[in-house]
Symmetry: C2
Subunit: 333 residues, 2 copies
DNA sequence: ATGAAAGCGCTAACAG
DNA sequence: CTGTTAGCGCTTTCAT
């Protein structure tokens, strides 16, 4: 079913059909009607692909994600919400773990799509390595500080500060920090910075023993948590720089017979809604994931309209959601 | 950055570059190396669009959703998980509310994409109206019984039975049913059927007064719930055929001063993870949303491989998740 | 008002 | 082994 079928059926040339399709001038009213009729009758739809190959503009915003999991799904919801307010449509491109592990896959995918399938893109991929010169791009929460590409991130520094202040406010003095893996360049240090700032402000001495790097696998995480919790003078609270580590911490605590929240307070970061379902309910620093997706699309749309390029690096506020994992009785003095 | 730039830079014809790109026979090793080098150097990626326009096969599975919201997001997670196991990539196409409200938009979008952008599609859209003859398609939970297209749905009948049995087991005899809007052709009646079957099996007489249709807007929903709850001999329990209605019911009960679960048990259907966060925690019939997405992709892949077409209509089991909204003390006799 | 023709980036026959 | 050619479905001059 192509434009030629329509043309043949209507007894006109493809050029004429194309004009009708795009509401161009220079077609007799009667012809327009006839062609419209045939289109309706045949249920014809023009091919997005062929059209964009010609046009180099598609009315589509692309979102590139490494995979669709709880985190990116939240961002996608926000992006979809923002797109609703615009004339654009949304295409999510999920590499589905097929990115070879090689960094820079997003750049390659981007160039596969850009100019042809999407007018601009939102990148929800930890490592943004884009060769510029393609379409407008906005990165969401890049771990390796977006460089020259506009980004939307959450306020990691302040979030970590909130979390640590909360624990300090509960009376804790020995607070462990379970960090991100070293490869995560951007948000990890910011969160540790917030942690240390809070300590400093409260006049609590910094103990390097209480800071651990975490890791990627489950075992790495659990080992790190175990190390922290089996310290001679073990921490009475732990701030985990992402919620996977926080949950691992809670589990390790259980196996060690340490009661949460009775004998240990735990706060997580990097909240996806699912972590609210954790038992005991986890106190977390909540990132506005949906909002990040939404703002990213809004920025992209502004870019596409060539409006004032807006602030290139947006930081969205985080907030502390207190749940049972830091409930009294606590702390141990 | 096109194939011609590469060809020019490498001093060969585009045809040769194309051959290198696709690992075709008949290119001298030295030439292959040189072309590969140029490709690397220029960071060239072939255009997915141009390629698929030629090839009519893309290695991409499309998922069409009306919008990305909690429900479809769950399905997407499952689809993404399934795609990981395959050589395909995933493209989600979100109409973003732009579907005119006219039914059949999915068919139109499908034909815009099919044969060119996607090799097959999963439709996550209430009303599946596909003119066949395009690409292979699997529908997820279509409200209007998929007809000839293969579908993945959840076992609405059994789920409703479970919910009602649960309430009966609690001792309830006057159980209201807050149905889906009439337009929802498939799942609505199935859920009502399960409700009535359970009643019959328990020897509880069916009271038409206790069955209401619900509606689309918030007010419709609340009015329906209010009607049910202000009946002279009002129900002691309500089975709501989707979780939005269930939450509305809980809210209306509160405004009427009816304690949930003290004086009223509520069970919902159509669970998205978010409903676990409802206060009080909602007892729901949980649909395996992620699994549905996963199975849909698996079926589609089988279809694309032209394997045995498998069972065309898969029903996945639902399960009852009991939470506080049906906790004792209950029922009122 | 209409259509013939060129070409978007790419691939596949076919010649050379 | 390499290049020329035709054409995927569509839009757009430019003639007619």
């Amino acid at each position: 079913m192509t434009i030629r079928d329509v043309a043949a059926q209507a007894g006109v040339s493809v050029a004429t059909v194309s004009k009708v399709l795009n509401d161009r001038y220079g077609v007799a009213a009667a012809t327009v009607d006839r062609v419209r009729g045939v289109i309706e009758e045949l249920g014809y739809e023009s091919s997005l692909v062929a059209r964009s190959l010609r046009n180099h503009r598609t009315g589509v915003i692309g979102v590139l994600v490494w995979d669709i999991e709880p985190y990116s799904a939240e961002v996608l919801k926000g992006a979809a919400r923002a797109v609703r307010e615009t004339p654009y449509e949304l295409v999510v491109y999920a590499a589905g773990g097929k990115g070879d592990g090689r960094m820079g896959w997003e750049g390659r995918y981007l160039s596969r799509l850009s100019g042809t399938l999407v007018d601009g893109a939102v990148l929800v991929t930890p490592t943004v390595q884009t060769a510029p010169g393609t379409v407008p791009v906005v990165a969401v929460d890049p771990h390796t500080g977006g460089g020259s590409v506009p980004t939307v991130a959450s306020d990691n520094l302040h979030g970590a500060r909130l979390a640590t202040d909360h624990l300090l406010g509960l009376g804790h003095r020995r607070i462990g920090f379970l960090g991100r893996p070293p490869r995560d360049l951007e948000s990890g240090p910011q969160r540790e910075r917030g942690y240390r700032d809070a300590l400093d402000a409260a006049g609590v001495p910094f103990d390097p023993q209480l800071v651990l790097a975490g890791g990627y696998g489950d075992t790495d995480l659990q080992n790190a948590a175990r190390t922290l919790l089996t310290l001679p003078d073990r921490p009475t609270a732990i701030f985990a720089a992402n919620d996977v580590s926080a949950i691992a911490t809670v589990e390790v605590a259980r196996t060690l017979g340490i009661d949460v929240p009775g004998a240990l307070s735990v706060v997580g970061f990097d909240n996806v809604p699912e972590s609210a379902l954790c038992r005991p309910p986890l106190t977390t620093v909540e990132q506005p994931l949906q909002l990040m997706g939404q703002r990213a699309v809004e920025m992209l749309v502004a870019l596409l309209a060539e409006e004032t390029p807006e602030e290139p690096h947006v930081q969205l506020p985080t907030r502390l959601v207190v749940r049972d994992s830091t409930a009294p009785p606590n702390p141990r003095p």
